[in-house]
Structures are given as structure tokens and as C-alpha cells.
Amino acid sequence: MKKVIVGNHAVSWGVSLARAEVIAAYPITPQTQIVEELAEMCDDGRLAAKFIKVESEHSAMAACIGASATGVRAFTATSSQGLLLMHELLHWAGLGRLPIVMADINRAVAPGWNIWTDQNDTLAQRDTGWVQLYCENNQEVLDTTIQAFALAEKLSLPVMIVLDAFFLSHTSEPVDIPSPAEVDAFLPRRDAALKLDTRDPHAFGALTTPAVYMEMRKRQQEAFDQVPETLRLIDADWDRRFGRSWGAVESYRTSDADTVLVTSGTITSTARYVINERRERGEKVGLVKIKMFRPFPTEPLRRALAGIPKVAVLDRNISPGHGGIFAEELRSALYDLPSARRPRVDGYVLGLGGRDVTPEVIGECLDATRGNDSSANAREDLWVGVKP
């Protein structure tokens, strides 16, 4: 069934088809529509889940942690300040190895108060032990929401689906919604190996001494090491069933390219438009989309970018005192390529706090990098479109 829906409702449909059993959430713009729709689905019986109303995002994540520890499928959604308030419990879910799925609508962090998109809220959570998947359109949102539960439960890791505020959350477009039976065949009920059970009482999170804590951390890292291959298999299975796959990293028109944009989120879509226009003019340009930010897809990015002379990373985020975060991580991933095959990586900081990223803005970045000398290294990230 194809329906014209907003990105927020694509998440709600995905969660409903995945048959989440516990949903706990606190409203915040621009996320609220996700849980409003889920609350209606629980109310009218379309979704047999327990909807837990809570007094804060901290409590929402606490409820999800408790629910997930009993072996059920748990979901929450938030944005910006709400995600920041969850920070302590994100670590708890991560190290607790609880396969919770959360949607975060990327929204800039206050002050000043801003409800528009940028990635600083989620990127500030990069070390909390959550897989992070950034989406480009509403179909990808729905598909990724369902895939996220499969990935989370396979590896006992929490997964965060990330959507740009408004450009996805409030934008309506056609989405192919699979049938419940098709999704049931793809995603069976959760079968937790370990769970809290009142008939066989155990506890999680007891005192963990220096003698064992580090091994627990190492296992978490090993689970993250398995994410790329596990996601590849899940995505391939999805493709067989539904005819769509998304990948952790996607190369778009990069063969023979001398300059490649690296993007995430909805900027990717507008950037494809720019690449198509430039290709028509004979320019050798392409695009690499990073969907998966944690774990960072080092190997796929090396394969995608080795031998390309120049790369321009578009960062809708800033690590103050350093620079754009995707650019910074990409440089690190490419560092040990042989120097003859290692691209020059230019970073551009743009679109913060929801500032519009138009084809013209993207074109400026592309032109600036095309004009640079590929044998020299970039000095510092450039801020694009900032008033003097």
C-alpha cells in the first residue's frame, strides 16, 4: 500500500509493523507526531503495545530499559534537549546491551531556542554505545525503522534512527507500506537470550570490578565490529522481500570522479540533484552518502574514496574547537591509505539550526573544492553562508 505520509508517521508505521510491545515517550517538537500516532494506534487497537506516559525523556529511556530487560521490544522517540536529558541512560542501554530502538529527529541544541534541524544532538551521543543510522527520505525512514529492530536484536545493541527536523519529519511524500504479514515474516517476535523474570530472579548492572569491566567493554566493541556485516545481510534480506536496499554507505556517480561530495541526511538528496546537473555539463563529480555513523564505516569509505583526488564533506554540525564531525572522522578513516591514493578532504560547516541548504550552497562547496590543489591538505573547515 502506497500512502502520502510525513517522515514522523513513517516512523510510527515502522514501529507498528515491527510490533513494538512497549512505547514510552515524552513529547517534544518536532518529534511529537511520531508518538501521537503511536498512541492512537495503541488506543484503537491497531498496535498491541503498552504506551507508558512519563514525566521526562530521562524517564522514557528508563522505562524502555526496564521493558527491554524483560525481553520485550521497546521503542521511544525524541529530539534535541530531550535526547540530551537521556544521555546518562543512553550509556545504560548501550552497556546493558539492550536492543531498544529510538528515533531522534535532529534538532539544534539551545540556547538560543531553535526547533530546526542540525545534527549536534545525535552526534553528541556518539560514544554512548548506540548504532546510528541517518536517513534521506521517508521510504528509507520506514524501511530503516523495521530493519533497526532486526539489527538491534541480532547483536544486542540499541539503535538510533535519525531524521532531519522538518525536511523529513514534517514533509509528506509517498511511502510504500508493507503488509503486516510480510513484515512478520521478516521480523519474528523478539527472542531474548537473557531477560529479567520474576519467576527466576536475577539482576542486571551489579558491581563490576576492574577484573571484569574491561572485558564487558571489549565485547561491546566486538558487537559493534559485527554491525556492518549484520546490517548488510539484513538489508539484503529486505531487498529480496521488498525490492529496496539502502546500505551503510552509498556511492553515487563516483566512477571516474575527480571530486566527490560526502553527505548525510536530507542534504544527500539535494546534493544528488547538484551532481546530476554537473554531470550533464560534463563535470566529473559524484557523491558518497554516509548512512551509518556508528559504527563508523571505515572500510566501505576507504573502498569508496581511495584514489579520488578531492573530497568535500558537508557537515550540518560542529564540534566547537575542532570542526565538522563527519569530516573529522572521515580524515581519520582515510589516514593510512597510501598517500598517492588518499584524497584531499575539505570540510564545510553549513545548515546549522535549520538554515536552508540549497543546490546553490552545495554548488559553492563543490566549486571551492574543485578549485583546490589535490596535493595539498585542507587547512581548516570553512563555514558556508555565514553573515559577517
Binding site: 502520502v4 526547533i115 525536511f167 536552508d356
Partner: protein, 200 residues
């Protein structure tokens, strides 16, 4: 690709209008994308919503600043805000108004103007209240007749699938309004009314 902007006041249904029109065009096999102005909305305050439609895939995910056409749900907005800001030469404007296109001479100089008394139609079919009629379905019926980019049947099918309350009245209002459209000649400046689109 065509880009449209819808002006209304909070509560008149501008955002729903953009979604209904997107659904109607989708039912005709077009690619569509619709979204509200990204901001904080209040009842009675000016509201805008947007729509892109194309035969091919829509890749742009940025704001619409140079629309090909406008739909104005409240004629008082024409004095209150610069509704024609960024409208392309040869663009078209459909206004919910009692008077005909000649009552908007400044707009008619530069653009093709259509009017329909959607408020009266909405009141007639009991949509919204007497003082605050909900005019979105009526004006979309007139838009089908005005623009030629979508059929009245598709608009009605979209209303049937998306409007859960007073569905039949909304459909009838749309059909009635389509018959009440009044249009101006396209100004000479505009050249061909159906302007080719520059961004795909």
C-alpha cells in the same frame, strides 16, 4: 517540476490543503512532496505550506522560494503579507475572495489570477464555523479547474481518503467550487501560461 505555495491563516487548513493536493497528484502517478513552513504556528496568524510535483523523482529537499503558483486561502493576507514574493513571472494565483480577479488589479498586471468564494461554499456545506469556515477542500476544487495540473476527480478521491470528518460535504464543496471559478486573462508579460520548469 512545479513548485506551489499556499497562504492561509492558522486554522484554515493550509497545511492539510498541501497534503490533500499532494495525495491527489500522487493518485495521478506524479511524484509529490509537501511540507508546512518550518516554524511555530498560531491560530489566526499567517501560515504557509508548500508543494512540489514532478513527473520524475523529486530530489530537492530545501525550501521553496520561487514558486510557479500560489493558492491564497484568505484575501486579507494580500494586504497583510507580500504573497507574491518570489512568484515567477507568468505565475498564477488562486485567491479565495468574493470579488473577481479585477479586484486584484496589481496582481493581475503580472500574473494570471483566479478567484472563487470558497468561504461561501464552505459555509453552505457547514465546513468549519460561520465566522471561520474551513475553506481548503473548496479551494482545491477550484484549483483543479484553475490550474489544469490535477483533475477534480483526483482531488475528490484525495479528500475521500484523507478527510475523516464530513467527507461527503467536503467532496461536494470541492465540486461546487470548481464551477464557481473566475479567471483573468494571463497578462501579456507572462507569455505562455504553462511555464516550463527550470528545476527538475
Amino acid at each position: 517540476m512545479r513548485e506551489l505555495r499556499i497562504h492561509g491563516r492558522g486554522g484554515q487548513g493550509a497545511v492539510i490543503a498541501s497534503k490533500l493536493l499532494a495525495t491527489a497528484l500522487f493518485l495521478e502517478g506524479k511524484s509529490v512532496q509537501s511540507f508546512p513552513a518550518f516554524g511555530v504556528e498560531r491560530r489566526g496568524a499567517p501560515v504557509t505550506a508548500f508543494l512540489r510535483t514532478s513527473d520524475g523523482p523529486i530530489l530537492l529537499r530545501c525550501e521553496i522560494t520561487k514558486p510557479d503558483g500560489l493558492i491564497v486561502l484568505d484575501p486579507t493576507l494580500i494586504a497583510a503579507v507580500d504573497v507574491a514574493a518570489g512568484l515567477k513571472d507568468g505565475g498564477s494565483i488562486l485567491v479565495n475572495a468574493e470579488g473577481g480577479p479585477e479586484t486584484f488589479p496589481k496582481l493581475a498586471e503580472r500574473f494570471r489570477v483566479g478567484t472563487v468564494d470558497a468561504s461561501a461554499v464552505a459555509r453552505e456545506y457547514g465546513l468549519g464555523s460561520k465566522n471561520q469556515p474551513i475553506v481548503n477542500t473548496a479551494i482545491l476544487g477550484a484549483f483543479a479547474a484553475f490550474s489544469g495540473i490535477v483533475s477534480i476527480d483526483s482531488v475528490c478521491r484525495a479528500i475521500e481518503s484523507e478527510v475523516p470528518f464530513k467527507t461527503a460535504d467536503n467532496v461536494t464543496a470541492a465540486r461546487a467550487a470548481a464551477g464557481l471559478l473566475r479567471t483573468s486573462e494571463a497578462p501579456a508579460l507572462a507569455g505562455a501560461a504553462a511555464r516550463e520548469v527550470t528545476r527538475g
